[in-house]
Amino acid sequence: MIRISPACRARIASALTCVTLLAAIGCKPNADQDEAFRPIAVGQLVPELTVRTLEGDSARIAAGEPVTLLHVWATWCGPCQKEFPEIEAIQREFGPRGLRIVAVSVDEGDDDPVRAFAEDKGATFEIGRDPDGSIRRLYQGIGVPESYLISADGRLLVRQFGAIPEGAAAMRAEIEKALEASSQTSRSGELKRASM
């Protein structure tokens, strides 16, 4: 039987703590500073992003832009094909009231198939291009289609992974709210300027 003094016990406890910590750190094979995959969350400021459009222009998605529905899609994606008429319906309903839709295709390669698809579907909204998948990395997406409703001050209001559910009732309600908030902000800005 080994008799251990209180001081000795304390030293053993310290040694044990150190060893446990060492083991915990050393045994973890990839104990690096990997940043966790975390999709952009509702309420967060979206990262500034500029995409090339099929028209040869560019579309900036960031604070200070109109209320924007950023839609990420690909020509080969079945749910995207099915969803496109809904996106067009949202454009026709809310476009005149200030909603901007930027539908960014992540198809690799040249623009021709994307252009053909958009023409075939009769899309009247902006078609962006991101063959490198930059949006997916910036927004930390899962797949296509995905849709992000972004307020005029650049905050994410809705994150929709997968197609917008048929009828898009929830999305429409959020767009209504965002447009209303945006117009109120504009009105109060105008009033301020008028009173100066």
Binding site: I4, C8, A15, V19, L22, A23, G26, C27, K28, P29, N30, D32, D34, E35, A36, F37, R38, P39, P47, E48, L49, T50, V51, R52, G56, S58, R60, A74, T75, W76, C77, G78, P79, C80, K82, E108, G109, D110, P113, A116, F117, D130, P131, D132, G133, S134, I135, R137, L138, Q140, G141, I142, G143, V144, P145, E146, F161, G162, A163, P165
Partner: protein
């Protein structure tokens, strides 16, 4: 004091031994760029011959373009396979598949894309070629399971059964709904049975299929199905008559992941000598997203409670691959989607999948590594993956948000800037 020192030393020794046990059961060589001969490469795949020979394949194209060709190497300079029908697709989720027959014939199954006059979008065709000399020369490729060259067949699997039967599975879309099909050849690919629909339910349209056979010839087919409410789960179906008819598919686990889209992440499945079905898959279910493993010891009727191999609250799609050793070893590799820059990690079970050791990093830190594949022959392990440097990755990320000029145009990136890396290992 002396007692304290002895106890401390013993503790340190115990702790470091535990580390060695956990992390150093596999010794790896340095990673090699197997696609160096073709500058760029993507969509790697292995095949193991009955004698243990390893063939590695990848897709490359001149200048990293879209004119995909298949390159196969068994150690020396790669040979090239071109298909006159069109370019071979370098798709990570639907890579060319390879398998050796019992007589050493090497089969390659791949998807060819083509812009068809009169149609707005490219179509695809599944093509099979075979080689009697480990890929140095190939037979003329043939179209699988169709009278017409092009359709929507993709996300394919190739398997050679113990009796030499060739099995090919794929997803095919009709009026916007994908279904899973399988065909069989008993004459080395010369003729094929009419395609058999494995399940009338809709399949997730862009997740790869997997085929495995047991020693008694029982055939298993795995894919991601779409349950009502767009719940996307992995299922396994069993056929006792070589794919002519199928039992209703069984859900391996109720992940309850709802997603109406294309995640590009199908399952991997193997069957061991005792008939146990091993399967691994990825789910995007928030709160418990990532890679899981489970097994069935009753011919796929029920699956055990899954083991989380690598999960977090969120995970980008990960692509897991399983391999079985002869000594109850189960190896799983995948591209970890729980971190921003995906990396290839591996976990090994030495008790037939009852428990797995800790994760070992296989790819290099700071590089985006995706779509790993593996081959296991005895204790010898080879893992390949597609890799992109962190600087390329960062460059792409920086380009988009930093374009201040509202009229700036972002140039098209080259297709296929990635390389294929390979690492050999030995399980201890």
């Amino acid at each position: 004091m002396r007692t304290t020192s002895i106890i401390s030393i013993l503790l340190v020794v115990a702790a470091t031994s535990a580390c060695r046990d956990a992390g150093a059961r596999t010794t790896f060589s340095e990673a090699q760029t197997v696609s160096a001969a073709t500058t760029v490469g993507a969509a790697p795949m292995f095949a193991l011959s009955p004698t243990g020979k390893r063939a590695v394949a990848w897709v490359s194209a001149p200048g990293g373009g879209t004119d995909g060709r298949l390159y196969v190497s068994t150690g020396g300079a790669p040979s090239e396979l071109r298909d006159s029908l069109g370019p071979i697709e370098p798709h990570g989720e639907a890579p060319p598949k390879m398998a050796y027959g019992p007589d050493g014939t090497l089969y390659a199954l791949y998807a060819v894309g083509k812009v068809v006059p009169g149609r707005r979008f490219p179509m695809s065709s599944l093509r099979l070629a075979k080689s009697a000399d480990d890929g140095r020369t190939w037979t003329m490729p043939v179209t699988i399971a169709s009278d017409s060259a092009f359709g929507t067949r993709n996300f394919h699997a190739l398997h050679v059964g113990g009796d030499g039967s060739l099995y090919v599975a794929w997803l095919e879309s009709n009026q916007g709904k994908s279904k899973t099909f399988l065909t069989r050849s008993t004459d080395a690919g010369a003729t094929w049975t009419p395609p058999v629909l494995a399940d009338t339910n809709q399949s997730c349209p862009c997740c790869r299929t997997a085929i495995a056979t047991a020693r008694d010839g029982t055939l298993y087919l795995a894919w991601r199905t779409v349950f009502p409410g767009n719940v996307r789960e992995v299922v396994v179906a069993r056929s006792d008559d070589h794919g002519a008819t199928w039992a209703p598919p069984v859900r391996v686990h109720a992940d309850n992941w709802v997603f109406d889209g294309c995640p590009h992440a199908g399952p991997s499945m193997q069957v061991d000598s005792a008939g146990t079905v091993h399967i691994a898959w990825w789910t995007g279910k928030e709160g418990s997203a990532g890679v899981f493993y489970t097994r069935s010891s009753d011919r796929g009727a029920r699956f055990a409670e899954p083991i989380a191999l690598g999960t977090a609250e969120f995970s980008a799609p990960a692509h897991v691959q399983l391999a079985l050793g002869s000594d109850r070893t189960v190896v799983a590799v995948w591209d970890d989607g729980t971190v921003k820059t995906p990396k290839v990690v591996m976990r090994v079970s030495h008790d037939n999948g009852a428990a797995f050791g800790p994760a070992t990093l296989v790819s290099a830190e700071g590089r985006a590594a995706t779509f790993p594949v593996l081959a296991l022959a005895g204790k010898e392990l080879t893992i390949a993956w597609s890799e992109q440097s962190q600087s390329e990755h960062n460059h792409e990320m920086a380009m988009a948000p930093n374009m201040k000029d509202p009229k700036a145009v972002k140039g098209l990136s080259r297709v296929g800037e990635s390389t294929v890396r390979v690492r050999n290992g030995r399980l201890q």
